[in-house]
C-alpha cells in the first residue's frame, strides 16, 4: 500500500511537471501588470518585466497602516508616472502625499518624491526566467546628497516566469537589507514573491508577499485603462487606477 501511494504521488507529480513543462511558452515575455505603486509588478512588489515605450499614469490609495510614507499616521495618495524608457529599462517617478498630515507653510499635507529605475538583465526564454535589478529611490546621502531622508527605498533583484501558456506569471525577488542606500521608509527587505493569474485578456487575480504583508487582489485592464483593488492581511483595502499607452517610435 505504501509503495502504491508512492507510485501515485510520483505519477501525479510527473503529470504536474509535464503539464507545467508543455505549458511553458516558447520564450515569450511575461505579461506586465501594474502594481499598486504604478510600476510593473504584482500587487505590492515589482516583477522582472519591462515593456519598451510603455507610458503610464497612475493614482493609488494606500491605507495608513500599510502606507510607506508616514505609516500609522496618514493614508497615502500616490501619483506615479512610469515609462519603458529603453527596451531593458523602466523608470518611474512618484509623489507620495500623506493626506492626513499638515505641513508648515501653505502646501497642504506632507509629500515626498520617489524616483526609481528597473533594469532587465536577462530576457525570458523557454526555461529561463526574466531577471532584473531595481534601484528604487536610493538614499544618496552616502554619495554626498542631502535631500534623501524620506526615501521609499528598495534595492533588489527579481525573477519572473510566465507559466501555463502565459496565463500565469510567478515572481520571486530578494531585496537588500543593507542600511547603505536604504532610507527611512525602506521596503522589500528580504525575500518577496507573488503570482498573477490571468482569467482572460482583461481580468487578473493576484497575490503576493512584500516581506511585511500578504496581499490578494483583482486587476482589470481595458483599452489602456486599468484598475486594481487589493486586500492586505484580510482587512486593509487599497486601490489603483491608471492609464497606459505604448508610445510610437522605433525599438522593440
Amino acid at each position: 500500500m505504501h509503495i502504491l501511494n508512492s507510485i501515485y504521488r510520483c505519477a501525479a507529480l510527473s503529470v504536474l511537471f509535464f503539464f507545467i513543462y508543455v505549458s511553458l511558452p516558447a520564450g515569450a515575455e511575461a505579461h506586465s501588470t501594474h502594481s499598486l505603486y504604478g510600476y510593473s509588478g504584482v500587487l505590492t512588489i515589482p516583477d522582472a518585466c519591462v515593456t519598451d515605450r510603455l507610458l503610464g499614469f497612475h493614482v493609488t490609495y494606500l491605507p495608513d497602516h500599510i502606507a510607506p510614507y508616514r505609516r500609522g499616521v496618514s493614508d497615502n495618495h500616490v501619483y506615479t508616472a512610469t515609462l519603458g524608457f529603453l527596451p531593458f529599462a523602466e523608470c518611474y517617478f512618484s509623489v507620495y502625499d500623506a493626506v492626513d498630515t499638515e505641513w508648515t507653510g501653505n502646501y497642504g499635507s506632507e509629500k515626498t518624491r520617489s524616483p526609481g529605475v528597473k533594469i532587465r538583465l536577462l530576457s525570458e526564454k523557454r526555461l529561463r526566467p526574466a531577471l532584473a535589478v531595481g534601484f528604487f529611490d536610493p538614499d544618496v546621502r552616502d554619495l554626498g546628497g542631502e535631500f534623501s531622508w524620506d526615501t521609499i527605498s528598495s534595492t533588489f533583484i527579481v525573477a519572473s516566469k510566465s507559466l501555463l501558456s502565459d496565463y500565469a506569471t510567478v515572481t520571486f525577488g530578494y531585496g537588500l537589507e543593507s542600511e547603505r542606500f536604504s532610507g527611512e521608509n525602506s521596503r522589500l527587505q528580504g525575500l518577496f514573491g507573488g503570482l498573477v493569474y490571468r482569467l482572460n485578456n482583461h481580468l487578473s487575480v493576484m497575490a503576493d508577499n512584500d516581506t511585511e504583508f500578504w496581499s490578494a487582489g483583482l486587476a482589470a485592464d481595458l483599452r489602456g485603462f486599468s484598475v486594481t483593488c487589493a486586500v492586505t492581511e484580510g482587512q486593509a483595502v487599497s486601490f489603483r487606477a491608471g492609464y497606459s499607452l505604448i508610445l510610437p517610435g522605433s525599438g522593440q
Binding site: 524608457f85 518624491r113 546628497g145
Partner: protein, 394 residues
C-alpha cells in the same frame, strides 16, 4: 544632309520647349509646396537633380514635411530629373538633407546634415517672412527652498524671421496659478535675437542676445555644433556671459554680467532606438565645474530625457521632455505666413541638497535651459532621428 538638317531643326525646336516645360513645372512645384504648408520654398534644377529647400512650418514634423516635398516633386514629373535633393530649412537655415531617386518610394534615400541650400536661380516663393505665434503651456515646479512650489499658465511668444537665420523673439508668461508670488499674474519671458548659420557641411553656429525672463538671466551665448562621420557623433560647445535679471513690482532689475558659462559636449546617437547619449563638462553658470551625462530618446516626435549632473559635490537630476503640438493642423495657418509652435519644452529638477529655505542659494551644475538657440532651429531634424523614422537598414 537632309537627315542632319532635320535633326538640327528638332534639337533647335526641342530645347526651348523643354526649358519652358521645366520652368512651368518648377513654378507648379513651388506653389504646391506653399499651399501644403511649406514656407521659404526654393526649387532649382542642376543636371538631373531637382534641388528643393523649404521649411515645413505648417507640419510640426520635419519628417512628414520632407515626405511631402519628395512626393510633390515626383508628382510634378519634371523631364530629365531623376534625383531629388531636399533640404529642410527652418528659419532659412539648412539643417537636414534628403537625397533620393524620384521614382523610389519615400524614405528610400539618404539622410545627411544640410549644407548649402541649392544652386542659384530656379523658382522661389515670394514671401521671405514668417511670424510664428507660440502659446505653450507654462509651468514651473520646485525650487531650492521649496521642492513642491508650483505655478502654471500660458506663455504667448512671438517669433519674427525677417531674414534667413535671424529670429527676433519676445514673450510673456501669464499665470493662472502662482505659488512663487501669489500677487504676480504676469512676467516677461524671453526677449532678444537669435542668429543661426551653417558654416559648413558639418559645422553650425548659433548666437543669442537678450533678456531671458524664464531663466531669470540676461546676456549672450554662442553655440557650435560639429557633426562627425555620418552625423551619429557630434561635438558641441556652449559659451555665454550672463547676469541676473528679474521682474518685481512691475519693474525690471538686472545685475552685472558676472556668470560665465563654458561647456563642451560629446554626443552619440543610436539609430535603432532613436536615442542619444550626451556627455558634457565644464564651467557651469555659477562658477562651479562639473560633468553631466544625459540620455534622450525620441518616441516619434515626443522627446524624453534624463540628466545627471555632478558638480562640486552636489548632484542634480533632471527629467526633461518636449511634447509635440498641433501636428498637421498648422498647415492652413502657415499659408498666411504665420507659424505655430511645434513643441513644448519642459524640465523638472531633482536636487540632492536639503531644503535650504534660502531663496538666495545657488544651484550647482546649472545652465540656462529655455534660451532660444540651436535647438530652436534644428529641433528634432537630426539625420539619426530621420534614419530611425525611416526604418531599419537606412
Amino acid at each position: 544632309m537632309i537627315v542632319f538638317m532635320t535633326m538640327l531643326l528638332v534639337l533647335y525646336a526641342g530645347i526651348p520647349a523643354r526649358a519652358d516645360e521645366r520652368d512651368d513645372a518648377l513654378t507648379a512645384l513651388v506653389e504646391r509646396l506653399e499651399n501644403s504648408g511649406h514656407r521659404l520654398v526654393h526649387a532649382a534644377i542642376s543636371g538631373d537633380t531637382l534641388h528643393v529647400s523649404a521649411w515645413p512650418s505648417g507640419f510640426g514634423d520635419p519628417y512628414r514635411g520632407m515626405e511631402n516635398i519628395v512626393t510633390s516633386a515626383a508628382k510634378c514629373n519634371i523631364p530629365g530629373v531623376n534625383t531629388v535633393s531636399a533640404v529642410h530649412t527652418p528659419w532659412g537655415v539648412p539643417v537636414l538633407r534628403y537625397i533620393g531617386r524620384t521614382g523610389a518610394p519615400f524614405p528610400g534615400g539618404v539622410w545627411d546634415k544640410g549644407s548649402d541650400i541649392q544652386p542659384s536661380g530656379g523658382k522661389q516663393s515670394l514671401w521671405n517672412f514668417l511670424l510664428s505665434v507660440d502659446v505653450p503651456f507654462a509651468a514651473s515646479f520646485g525650487a531650492l527652498d521649496d521642492p513642491f512650489i508650483f505655478r502654471t499658465g500660458l506663455r504667448p511668444e512671438l517669433y519674427w524671421n525677417p531674414l534667413n537665420g535671424i529670429i527676433g523673439f519676445a514673450g510673456m508668461e501669464l499665470y493662472a496659478h502662482n505659488e512663487y508670488d501669489p500677487s504676480a499674474w504676469y512676467r516677461p519671458a524671453n526677449m532678444g535675437v537669435l542668429y543661426v548659420r551653417s558654416l559648413s557641411d558639418r559645422l553650425s553656429a548659433a548666437a543669442t542676445w537678450g533678456a531671458f525672463g524664464i531663466d531669470e538671466l540676461w546676456g549672450a551665448q554662442v553655440e557650435l555644433d560639429y557633426s562627425i562621420g555620418d552625423s551619429r557623433w557630434s561635438l558641441g560647445m556652449r559659451s555665454g556671459l550672463f547676469g541676473d535679471f528679474w521682474f518685481e513690482d512691475d519693474r525690471f532689475g538686472y545685475d552685472d554680467l558676472e556668470h560665465e558659462l563654458a561647456l563642451f559636449r560629446l554626443s552619440c546617437a543610436d539609430v535603432p532606438l532613436d536615442a542619444t547619449v550626451h556627455v558634457q563638462g565644464g564651467r557651469y553658470l555659477y562658477g562651479d565645474y562639473g560633468v553631466e551625462a544625459r540620455i534622450t530618446r525620441m518616441f516619434r516626435e515626443l522627446e524624453i530625457g534624463f540628466t545627471g549632473v555632478i558638480s562640486e559635490g552636489e548632484f542634480n537630476g533632471y527629467i526633461h521632455c518636449a511634447v509635440p503640438l498641433f501636428g498637421e493642423s498648422g498647415r492652413r495657418i502657415a499659408k498666411d505666413n504665420i507659424g505655430l509652435p511645434s513643441r513644448i519644452r519642459y524640465r523638472y529638477r531633482y536636487n540632492s541638497k536639503t531644503i535650504t529655505h534660502d531663496p538666495a542659494s545657488l544651484p550647482r551644475g546649472s545652465e540656462p535651459f529655455y534660451i532660444p538657440g540651436w535647438h530652436t532651429v534644428a529641433g528634432s531634424a537630426s539625420p539619426s532621428h530621420m534614419r530611425s523614422r525611416s526604418g531599419p537598414g537606412l
